[in-house]
Amino acid sequence: MPVVTPDGFRASDNIAYVSPDALPAGSDLAVDMPNDADPRTLVERFGDIATIRIAFPAFGDGRGFSLARQLRDLGYTGHLRAGGNLISDQYRHARQSGFDDVEIDDALAERQPEEQWIVREQRSYREKLAAR
């Protein structure tokens, strides 16, 4: 399962994910977050979380983009990964919503190889509108 990063594809790291409902003690956690979870429940533990992976059950289901923004808005600065059914045309949305990378399956990687994921130079209107 490749991970798409701004530098291209790389092999997936074998992380052991835990559920956000029952976070174990300790730090450096990797959390597998369904897209109907409430990110506010994690705020207390942000310091212990190294990675959050948000699920995209279908590419037309855009809840994950809002969740990512909410996490970032709440102050989460760890690694943020989108996992599941995203297509290359959504890569810019993922990046602009605060994701660091996107995990896709092998079949999609074959159909949409690396060069199709490279974001065209496309600034977001958010940058233009932002107060300086």
Binding site: R63, D73, D89, L129, A131
Partner: protein, 562 residues
Amino acid sequence: MYSYDEFDRDYVKNRVAIFRDQVARRVSGALTEDEFKPLRLQNGIYLQLHAYMLRVAIPYGTLNSAQMRQLAMIAEKWDKGYGHFTTRQNIQYNWPKLIDLPDILDALADVEMHAIQTSGNCIRNVTADHFAGAAADEVEDPRPAAELLRQWSTDHPEFAFLPRKFKIAVTGSPNDRAVIKAHDIGLRVLRNDAGEVGYQVIVGGGLGRTPVVGETIREFLPKEHLLAYCEAILRVYNLHGRRDNKYKARIKILVMEEGLESFRNQVEAEFASLLEVHNGPSLIPDPAVVKRIEDAFAPPRFEDLPESDAAYEARLAEDEEFARWCATNLTAHRQPGYAIASISLKPVGAAPGDASADQMRVVADLAERYSFDELRVSHEQNLILPHVAKRDLPAVYDALSEAELATANIGLIGDIIACPGLDYCALATARSIPIAQDIAQHFSDPDYSRLIGDMKIKISGCINSCGHHHVGHIGILGLDRAGRENYQITIGGDHTESLKMGQRLGRGFDAEEVVPAIEQLVQTYFSLRESEAETFLQVVERAGTQPFKDALYPAKEPADAG
């Protein structure tokens, strides 16, 4: 008028390049049809009955002559010589080929236009009062807000894959000409007691199979919080709107299921946290950007003119046709000596909203010469010259007459809204345009239609209600009844600030029964009205629907039989 800055230009050109690439990848198989469809929809491309269809945005209904000429050029070069202006201030081409579409989008970008987000489950083209910047009753021009929203919503990374489409409309006047209460978000510019300008925010309105009148979620929103508040609404909707059933996926259903209070609390909480987090950075827009937009909509350099003009008055006195056109097609302008001139796209026999390339050019020339290079598209499927000096009205009228564009029926029974219906639309259950044509033909006598007075007939070819039938004084909904086209009639709908859905009168009618039924309704109105000043809608409100039911379904046929 707003003109693109470098960012806009690069952005739109780049989107065309991305789409060109997407078409190539669809052809190569890198994109499946399921994946490609939402991408083409986000560029305004549908597949209809006969061909693809392209829907081009005319943001807040404003365009200049160069843009109108380019629309004409596209109609001739890549389509069949005409376009269809819609109730959402878009223009639709019915015959483009997918392989030509990247070139068409490029041609649009050349004149600072695009088709981005005119379709798909995203924030659609933002619409506004078509008299913006000219209307006498306006608090403030709503278009700077609409342009700001256009920029904010364009490719908004969070909101490109919403549960369903999302439509925003803005008006700057207490008299609502933008149907804001039938939109997902409706905004009205108003002044509070302290004299500050802000917005009344309405949410959860819509037509379609579940018509809902939008409700006020915020009585007064300070101007600078427009984007943050909309972002909060959209975020709550994106996270909680239903995705299990396409017919329950609009925000109106979420608001209904949660209740306005609970929905408002969620939005206000999200809004508060957005302000806290960003404390300015991305959702309080850069004042320089806002100022550039506001400056772009500064009023044109009007001349100091007397309230009226001698030549215009003389023509009024001697030319009955001209006087008739002025009586129906002109609206008061805020600037002395000027008028707002509506150009009816409903001549008898035409498809409502259709304009040929030649007609587009005539209108473009007139705008350039007589209306500070500005044109408007109304949700009633007409075109508008917003700033015409009264002195020039005779010349404008003569040019329009020559191009068969001087039909004097604005606001009258012949000024019918109709969606494309089964003649073009893949979702239709019945035809709309031929019904509109039959009605317009029947009521073509200008004296008769003036006698009837203010009358809005709105026709949709299926329950999706693109033709706004729910809010027509008379609404007509085309259905399929066992393989036959069948038309249901509602009355009492109101598309203004007092938005109301019409009530169904009874069983539907065959196509050829529709005109006699409308004539019945008109006769019933005549028999009920207390004076010529009492409009059809007022009579329905006073007398109720029963007398109209009795007229349409006499004898023992119960009104609710089908």
